[in-house]
């Protein structure tokens, strides 16, 4: 035995994404260079963010403050760039801010044994308050020059954005980490069966702390990728982003209860969520209706991931045989 599974969830997802792309290319201006460019630009930070959140979700945790962390990252990088610091400095600073804020979340979760959803919901609110109250100009940074935007607006061969390439690189590295390192396995273990993980010699608290730090680093990357695409930084752009990351992860097959899922799936999920939103734009749906549809998408995706179809089938078969439930 040991046959390789060709029809995996990820390959199915990949096929759906490809089919969707074909459909869009044929029916809209998606197929043009500018359409593709838009996609690559928009989807890059989402890919990195979806991966960041997926790593957390593997361990059975979540981060509702991811969006606001992005905001702080973006602001730090932009403000320092405006003040004249070189790229190395403002980018490192951005990454550091991501690591610190996410690390803080992780520390509170582990030290106080509070569920991550509660902690990050609270820090999310704290972030919003701090952002508007304490940052100069309520966090807005205007008139950013080339010294900042070269990363986000640059392209290879005039077509492929730098940030897209970076996003794919990040994806490749993290996928490798998840599959080929012991650290990767411990993530799934802690989320899959915490007690068994302890018996296997894994320290769940250390693992959770480490994964939040990693999430912070990745959010730092995502924040910089997003911020450098424009010459002005507005806080609203980041708020609520974590929902898209989570939607992408869940649609990509990451089990929201933890313990299973693939990062490659999250990447495809990011693409799928993006394509769904432009489809809705093309069909003229209102902004908020898109929200609703994304919500439905998440519900369906979670249902498919979490439901034990064999058991369900058996129960229905039983009920039918008995002539009704």
């Amino acid at each position: 035995m040991g046959r390789k599974r060709i029809v995996t969830r990820e390959s199915m997802l990949g096929t759906i994404v490809a089919a969707f792309m074909l459909f869009l290319a044929l029916s809209t201006n998606f197929g043009t260079v500018s359409g593709l460019y838009s996609m690559m630009l928009d989807v890059s930070p989402t890919i990195v963010g979806a991966i960041a959140l997926s790593l957390l979700i593997f361990t059975g945790n979540i981060d509702i403050s991811a969006g606001t962390i992005l905001g702080f990252v973006g602001f730090t990088a932009a403000a320092l760039a405006k003040a004249g610091y070189p790229a190395v400095v403002f980018m490192s600073a951005g990454l550091l801010v991501g690591v610190l804020l996410a690390g803080l979340n992780g520390w509170i979760i582990v030290a106080f044994r509070v569920p991550s959803i509660v902690v990050t919901l609270a820090t999310n609110m704290v972030h919003i308050g701090f952002y508007v109250t304490f940052l100069p100009n309520a966090g807005w940074v205007l008139n950013l020059s080339r010294s900042f935007t070269w990363l986000g607006q640059g392209r290879f061969f005039g077509v492929v954005p730098y940030i897209f390439v970076i996003a794919l690189l990040v994806a490749a590295v993290t996928i490798w980490i998840a599959r080929y390192t012991q650290f990767g396995k411990t993530l799934y273990a802690v989320g899959g069966n915490r007690q068994a993980a302890i018996y296997a010699g894994i320290d769940p608290d250390r693992t959770v702390l480490k994964v939040y730090l990693l999430e912070g680093l990745l959010l730092g990357v995502a924040g910089i990728l997003k911020a450098t695409t424009a010459n002005r930084l507005m806080p609203s752009v980041f708020q609520g982003r974590e929902m898209i990351f989570i939607a992408a992860a869940v649609v990509g097959g990451v089990n929201i209860m933890g313990g299973s899922g693939k990062l490659l799936g999250a990447v495809f999920g990011a693409l799928l969520v993006y394509m769904l939103s432009i489809t809705m734009i093309y069909m003229g749906f209102q902004d908020y209706f898109q929200f609703a549809l994304q919500g439905v998408l998440i519900l369906v995706a979670v249902f498919i991931t979490v439901t034990d179809f064999t058991a369900l089938r058996r129960r229905f078969a039983g009920a039918l045989a008995r002539g009704g439930p």
Partner: protein
């Protein structure tokens, strides 16, 4: 009576325990315990529920530390600080499935925490990556030794219990364990799967693995074990070669204690049949059980854990649905679809796990007792009549001698025995005619225990019909008018009060 396949495994002693004592608050779990395990043998450990078997295993695997006494491994002093340490020393215990990761593959499960790695090309000493190739080879070799071929990429959650157990065994072997402890391994297996497991055990023997096999099932012990040790009440009773001992001998060793005749059971006139169950079947759990219960009777329900007693009780009180069978209450056939319906017919169930199912622990005594009566003590607008609540609570606190400073005392602060009484009061508050009590004195101190027995006896005198599920043999013998013994989901036998002895019950249960 024994099968010639267990030639005494010779060989040196690999694990020895001498003079081991372990006490917990209120109970001496093990006293002066001795055990020795020889190389390549299957050594069965036998004893009733609560005899100390699992404490013994927890000492060997580092979950607990002994209070005194010594353990030696291959002649050298053995101290096991924690479960990981046990693995490192070559000792592994096979649980049923709790220590596997359901969403991960067999391969990942086997090597979790101790994966094989190889260095990254170029980076050498600084970074290592997982080496799936060598892990697959090693896993393949382990399964080869066990005589099975499995798809290593299969997810554990898709596997049957028997296969999961094999994965657990493979996991233990991946640590190069030389000592394996199997704790009731056949509890959830079909007879065919048991045969496969025994094959595996024989192979392991041939490879020099020494095994401790904990089980109640005497038939299996005679089939697979070389020697057997009997424990009773935390003490060592005897170790003997399986070929030199009989079933009867084992049973008498397990039981041999004197009975106290302190059970306050009065003789009560037994009336008409109030509850009848015929042919109750539930897939995998109950295999056609019949039961009759009369007014004023206390029917003891005996049998080993897993025999189906609680499952039967759940069916009788509407908490679970049988696949087949009928229940008659007062001669009338009723399909009981929910616990609410059962209560309306006068049937109540008091769970064995009072913390989980019996009580709402953060609520007060009064709130708990009147919980099933809320509708009856509330006005039309849903307001609870506090006066009635207090009155009802007071009367039960008195009649059951519940030691609590008041009805407004939170249940979590009461002792186990008093919590149990609140549980019973809750059941009585609905004025039932039939009570099903599941392990009513589990975890209750001696004083409260006899008070609860007095209460049960009183209830029978009042004409209620009682089914008492209990693993405590003296309790069953002291309190029951009749005893129904269950085994493997079936009614194995029935005994009248006059014919009740511990041996006769155990004989049927095992």
């Amino acid at each position: 009576m024994t099968d010639g396949a267990n030639a005494a495994a010779g060989g040196e002693v690999v694990l020895r325990m001498e003079g081991i004592n372990k006490a917990f608050p209120g109970v001496q779990a093990l006293s002066n315990m001795t055990l020795d395990l020889r190389h390549g043998e299957v050594h069965a450990v036998c004893g009733e529920n609560g005899a100390g078997k699992s404490t013994l295993m927890k000492l060997i695997t580092g979950v607990y530390q002994p209070d005194s006494g010594t353990m030696t491994l291959n002649g050298e002093r053995l101290v096991v600080r924690n479960p990981n340490d046990a693995y490192a020393k070559g000792i592994a215990i096979i649980f049923q499935e709790t220590s596997l990761f359901p969403e991960l593959t067999i391969l990942e499960n086997i090597f979790m925490g101790h994966e094989l790695t190889r260095p990254l090309p170029g980076l050498g000493r600084f970074a290592r990556r997982l080496d799936y190739g060598s892990m697959r080879t090693k896993a393949g070799e382990i399964f080869g030794r066990l005589g099975m071929a499995l798809d290593l990429e299969a997810r554990v959650t898709d596997l049957s219990v028997a296969v999961k157990q094999m994965v657990e065994i493979a996991k233990a072997l991946s640590f190069d364990s030389r000592i394996l402890i199997l704790d009731e391994p056949t509890a959830a297996l079909t007879s065919k799967e048991v045969d496969t497991l025994f094959d595996t055990i024989r192979r392991l023997k041939a490879h020099g693995v020494s095994m401790l096999y904990i089980s109640h099932r005497l038939d299996e012990i005679f089939q697979i074990a070389d020697r057997v040790t009997v424990i009773r009440d935390g003490e060592f009773v005897s170790t003997e070669q399986v070929g030199r001992v009989t079933r009867d001998r084992l049973v008498s060793w397990m039981v041999g204690r004197t009975l106290h005749n302190l059970y306050p059971k009065e003789d009560v006139p037994i009336g008409e049949v109030v509850l009848e169950a015929r042919g109750i079947r539930q897939k995998g759990v109950l295999d056609g059980v019949d039961l009759t219960l009369r007014r004023g009777e206390i029917l003891g329900l005996s049998g080993l854990a897993g025999a189906g007693r609680t499952e039967l009780a759940l069916v009788l009180c509407g908490l679970s649905r049988p696949d087949a069978g009928e229940i008659r209450v007062d001669g009338q056939r009723h399909a009981i679809h929910s616990y609410r319906e059962a209560m309306e017919r006068g049937i109540v169930y008091v769970s064995e796990d009072r913390q989980k199912y019996g009580l709402v622990v953060p609520m007060t005594v009064a709130e708990n007792v009147t919980l099933p009566l809320l509708r009856r003590i509330s006005s039309a607008f849903g307001l609870v009549d506090v006066g009635r609540e207090q009155e009802i609570t007071r009367s039960y606190v008195e009649s059951l001698s519940i030691k609590t400073p008041g009805g407004d005392f939170v249940v979590s602060n009461l002792s186990g025995g008093n919590q149990q009484k609140v549980s019973v009061a809750k059941a009585l508050a609905t004025e039932p005619r039939i009570l099903i009590l599941d392990e009513p004195t589990r975890g209750v101190d001696v004083g409260a225990k006899s008070e609860i027995h007095r209460i049960i006896s009183d209830l029978a005198r009042q004409g209620k019909a009682i089914i008492m599920i209990s693993s405590d043999l003296p309790e069953v013998l002291g309190m029951s008018d009749r005893v129904l013994v269950m085994k493997n989901g079936r009614k194995q036998g029935e005994l009248e009060r006059g014919a009740l002895t511990q041996e006769s019950i155990l004989h049927m249960a095992l």
